[in-house]
């Protein structure tokens, strides 16, 4: 036979108690939510990174721009660390076919290329496109389809690349690393790296780029980089996908959103656990008083409840994980559908740590304080309830809980601004709540009961003002968190879509000679192609800061890529729409002095308004003071410049070419051939594939975010239900009494629904206001957007909350209406 004390502490017995069920359910929801998010985020990360790695055709890329191949020893070192490697050589050259010749950029690859992603390839111009995992064989070459016409060849013919004849065996549609690279000026061909020597095109001093690709496990990549770093020269560039600006912006935002979602899930769970366990502790006081009367010491009481708490924790963790696994599997399947490719579920055990930690912290920061105080319940309580016992020291719980919450949020998001934003929202919420409480008390004080459902509802609010206010607080907090998430999501998605709208310019025209500008404009206008602004472009190198050589001023550690190469300098009279001045002033009309610097570069260089910058352009040097610092939307994929000068300024008279971009639909591609014929010296840079792929990724991430949002909103509903059920017993007893005293069912239903609707309305208004405050802070700090009221949400959320709560209240009343009041009162004894 089980002993009475063991039975008192058994989970099975606990499960029979409603409050414990709520605590356990909240814990399970907490662990499940965090675990699912963590697992899914980790999966998303690895899937997106794999998909994004295709942008480099590997996980990392090492470029050498000094015309010297990368030492073979480095590759051996990489292989010894378990990494795969591939090599390619890139250069520009003339190719000949009969009488036709054309400048092309050559990508010569070895047979390992690509390590990530696939090459899109076509056997014949009319054949279907196919994905292949390696480049052409030795002696073969694949051409950009435009070259067929430019060189007047067809598949099966051969072309001369330097001294080597290569046979055209296919058409190159897209390479996984078809990067957005200004130096790739001309149509591309792909050949085998082993043929490069025979072409004799690459000589000492030729402009050639040697690229090594690496792929493998993240730790191996990192350890290799640590080995490699000291050996890198100034002309070496180590790139990970994180460096590809447009893509990394998207990934980073997605990551932040997931983290934010995760943190909010933690908060919601914490609220649920705190509410339910407090209620549990309140209900346990009689039992504790009795146990004390029967001779159990406070230390034993403490141990008893600690043991129970630990058992709940265990049950919550196991239950939460059991719930999260199928959810995770489901999300993975959804992701596979969205990506239109199989996704291998990857169970990242490490990702479960935060979930388990959440369970522990939820228990010990939120559930334990009120339960710990059970030790202090006076034994005298068996004879009568003691004065001042009820809400005592609740503020301490709040402090402990707040510290734990913000600790957890910080732990997950590693973003102090996120913590502060949420804190700001909460403080706003509490301030308004205090005000509301005061209004409630002073305006309803004189209301007397009786008669209409409205009066009963208002009187109910007033009579339960303590409970009402704390419920409003919890609902408002839940709504604040959910609303924050919805708002951030909408603005995140809106930002993304605005960033790369459907008609984003997807072709660049580079190298437009000044006298060709009107003709180019005429050509595009005749075809009704919308033309972006034309910018002049002067190639120059930043050499001095305040008269000192730049290499001496800027420390080696602050890896400034812009110093390693020539910069594209421009002049412009108007600030581009998506740029923003963060310091100084934009050029006045007629101003000819000064230079405007991109903000991140300025920060890396340690340059501020008033400093002077020296540039070497060809054989000239110029020096100009910095007059403004501006942010640039690199992710817009429009012509963007680090340095902008005023028209008629220091760049006046320098050798300039022009650059512009325009949008071309895929079925208008043939226009490009005509353009190439008419303007053979102008390079066309096609980035339509890159844009399509980024748009793809944005769509994938969007779907993932929607799924996670749905999960968190579900958690919010559970919290609400937990809070409502916390006062279930009191409300049911009251309802039973009202019925006993002759209250009609319809009156009871109407007044209860009204009371809850009012609660929901207040909580909704509060939650939305607090969310706006939090979102404002978040927008500003994390997502760099601008603040605006979100009317589309300010109005519906309080209304929805009112309706949902009204029905929750109605649902609470069920037993009161279906059972005789007498039976109910007896049951509630």
């Amino acid at each position: 036979m089980m002993s009475a004390t063991r039975k008192l502490t058994s989970v099975r017995r606990d499960w029979r108690e409603r409050d414990v069920r709520v605590v356990l359910a909240a814990l399970i929801v907490a662990v499940a939510t965090v675990a699912t998010i963590a697992l899914f985020a980790s999966q998303l990360q690895s899937t997106l990174v794999t998909s994004a790695s295709a942008f480099l055709a590997g996980d990392r890329q090492l470029e050498s721009e000094n015309g010297e191949p990368i030492p073979a020893q480095w590759r051996e070192e990489a292989r010894s660390r378990g990494l795969e490697t591939a090599q390619m050589v890139e250069f520009s050259t003339m190719v000949l076919a009969g009488d036709e010749f054309q400048l092309v950029s050559v990508k010569a690859v070895n047979k390992q290329y690509p390590l990530r992603g696939e090459i899109e390839f076509q056997k014949e111009p009319d054949a279907s496109r196919q994905m292949v995992s390696r480049g052409p064989e030795q002696g073969e070459v694949w051409l950009n389809p435009r070259l067929l016409k430019l060189l007047n060849v067809s598949v099966g013919d051969s072309i001369e690349v330097g001294e080597k004849n290569l046979s055209v065996t296919g058409l190159l549609i897209r390479t996984p690393d078809g990067g957005f690279n200004m130096s790739a000026l001309s149509p591309r061909i792909m050949m085998h790296a082993a043929d490069v020597a025979a072409t004799q095109v690459v000589q000492e001093g030729s402009r050639v780029e040697y690229v090594n690709l690496f792929a493998g496990e993240e730790p191996a990549l990192e350890s290799f980089y640590r080995w490699l770093q000291p050996r890198l020269g100034p002309s070496h560039e180590w790139e990970s996908i994180r460096d590809g600006q447009a893509l990394s912006d998207s990934l980073e935002r997605a990551e932040r959103f997931l983290l934010l979602g995760g943190s909010l899930a933690v908060l919601l769970a914490a609220v649920a656990v705190a509410v339910a366990s407090r209620q549990y502790a309140l209900n346990q006081r009689d039992t504790v008083a009795l146990l004390k009367t029967l001779g159990l010491g406070s230390r034993s009481i403490g141990r008893l409840y600690l043991g129970r708490l630990s058992l709940w924790g265990l049950a919550g963790m196991v239950g939460g994980l059991l719930v999260s696994l199928p959810l995770f599997w489901l999300l993975t399947q959804l992701m596979a559908q969205a990506l239109d490719q199989p996704v291998e579920p990857r169970l990242d055990v490490m990702a479960l740590t935060p979930a388990l930690l959440t369970a522990l912290v939820s228990l010990f920061a939120f559930a334990y304080p009120p339960i710990r105080r059970l030790r202090d319940v006076p034994a005298m309580r068996v004879l009568r309830s003691q004065p001042g016992e009820a809400g005592e020291k609740a503020w301490l719980d709040v402090v402990i809980a707040a510290v734990a919450v913000f600790g957890l949020v910080w732990l997950y998001a590693r973003e102090i601004s996120l913590v502060l934003s949420l804190l700001g929202g909460m403080i706003a919420l509490i301030a308004v709540l205090v005000l509301l409480g005061w209004c409630l008390v002073s305006s309803l004080k004189h209301m007397s009961g009786g008669g209409s459902a409205w009066r009963l509802a208002l009187v109910g609010l007033y009579r339960h003002r303590r409970a009402s206010l704390s419920q409003i607080a919890v609902f408002a907090m839940t709504l604040m968190l959910a609303t924050t998430l919805i708002l951030v999501r909408s603005s995140l998605l809106a930002d993304w879509q605005a960033q790369l709208p459907e008609d984003t310019p997807n072709h660049f025209l580079i190298n437009i000679a000044p006298d060709a500008v009107p003709e180019v404009e005429g050509f595009l206008k005749a075809r009704d192609l919308p033309l972006d602004t034309l910018y002049p472009m002067v190639r120059g190198r930043l050499t001095q800061i305040n008269g000192e050589p730049v290499r001496e001023v800027v420390s080696k550690e602050s890896d400034v890529g812009a110093l390693n190469r020539e910069l594209n300098l421009t002049w412009m009279s108007d600030l581009p729409e998506d740029n923003r001045i963060v310091a100084g002033e934009w050029f006045d009309p007629g101003q000819t002095e000064g230079v405007s610097v991109e903000s991140e570069l300025a920060e890396k260089l340690g340059v501020d308004v008033g400093d002077s910058l020296g540039f070497t352009i060809g054989s000239d040097t110029i020096s100009e003071p910095v007059t403004s610092i501006r942010t640039v939307q690199w992710s817009s994929l429009k012509p963007n410049f680090y340095m902008a000068f005023p028209p008629g300024g220091a760049l006046d008279g320098m050798p300039a070419t022009w650059i512009t971009s325009f949008y071309l639909e895929s079925d208008e591609k043939s226009d490009l051939n005509e353009f190439a014929r008419q303007f053979p010296t102008i390079s066309v840079l096609e980035i339509d594939h890159i844009i399509e792929r980024i748009q793809d990724i944005v769509r994938q991430v969007t779907q993932a975010i929607e799924a996670i949002l749905a999960l968190i909103l579900a958690a919010a509903v559970v919290v609400m239900a937990a809070v409502v059920s916390a006062t279930l017993q009191d409300r049911q007893r009251e309802g039973a009494l009202l019925r006993t005293l002759g209250g009609r069912q319809s009156l009871l239903v109407r007044s209860t629904m009204l009371e809850f609707a009012l609660l929901g309305l207040f909580a909704g208004i509060l939650g939305v206001v607090a969310a706006e405050v939090a979102v404002w802070a978040l927008q500003y700090r994390m997502f760099e957007g601008e603040f605006r009221w979100h009317w589309q949400i300010v109005v519906p959320i309080p209304l929805i909350s009112a309706v949902v709560l009204a029905f929750l209240g109605r649902w609470q009343l069920r037993p009161v209406l279906s059972v005789s009041p007498m039976l109910l009162l007896r049951r509630l004894e």
């Binding site: 004390k292 009367t293 159990l296 006076p378 005298m380 009568r384």
Partner: protein, 246 residues
């Protein structure tokens, strides 16, 4: 068990089981102090049965709580079986209660999650009794609930619940039994049955009984009565009481 447990320190005066000396109790209400008991002195001898009577709010329950060591007085000393319990720590008082004190409450105070048997076993287990099940069963049979062992309090009537509570109160062989309005929640007839049971068990066990009650016939069955009024205690003239209740 008619004697105090062996480890209790007997003194020649230990014929006095319970002594309150100059007992006062005040409650701090923030900006006001409420005096509940004022200068209470009383002595209760071993195996005596005593009733504390008085109007609602007169301080009866507070006095019971102080005598039983559930609370400590603001001033004064409570001695139980020779130990100055008002000077013990909370945990020591709890230990003392487990060993020597039994309780019966107006609202029964049974744990709803436990069966009748388990409720009675509880104090035995807390006192590390060797065979709590057997002893509990025996006691429940003694109070006439031998066939209701597996029932939870919710499945029992008020009178039955109080019988379980009485069985529990005697389970750990207390030397003092405190009862707070034991018949307060029961109808007259059930109350009388419960009173009979309580007095009979008390006699059999030789327990000292201290009882707060409104139930005059029950009070009259006690050997002595204390009247409490506005926090002051006076012993009722037994003859007069008998006259009144005759």
């Amino acid at each position: 068990m008619n004697q105090a447990s062996p480890e209790s320190q007997f003194s020649p005066q230990s014929i006095v089981m319970l002594r309150a000396s100059n007992l006062s109790h005040r409650v701090d209400l923030g900006n006001d102090t409420l005096t509940i008991l004022q200068g209470v002195n009383l002595e209760i001898k071993r195996s005596e049965s005593v009733a504390i009577v008085g109007r609602s709010g007169s301080g009866k329950t507070t006095l019971l709580g102080l005598l039983a060591g559930l609370d400590v007085p603001t001033e004064g000393v409570v001695e139980l079986d020779g130990a100055r319990i008002s000077e013990l720590s909370e945990d020591d008082r709890a230990r003392m209660r487990a060993q020597r004190v039994g309780f019966i409450f107006q609202s029964f105070q049974l744990l709803p999650a436990l069966t009748a048997l388990e409720n009675v076993m509880l104090p035995l287990e807390l006192g590390d009794h060797k065979a709590p099940g057997a002893k509990a069963r025996e006691l429940l049979e003694r109070v006439g609930l031998g066939d209701r062992l597996r029932h939870t309090p919710r499945q029992l009537s008020g009178g039955e619940q109080q019988r379980v509570a009485i069985a529990r109160a005697f389970a750990a062989d207390p030397i003092v039994l405190f009862a707070d309005e034991p018949t307060g929640n029961l109808d007259n007839q059930t109350g009388e049955t419960i009173s009979d049971l309580l007095m009979a068990l008390n006699r059999e066990q030789g327990t000292t009984l201290v009882m707060v009650t409104h139930d005059e016939p029950l009070a009259a069955r006690c050997q002595r009565q204390f009247n409490i009024d506005a926090g002051r205690v006076s012993e009722a003239d037994q003859a007069a009481v008998e006259e009144l209740t005759r």
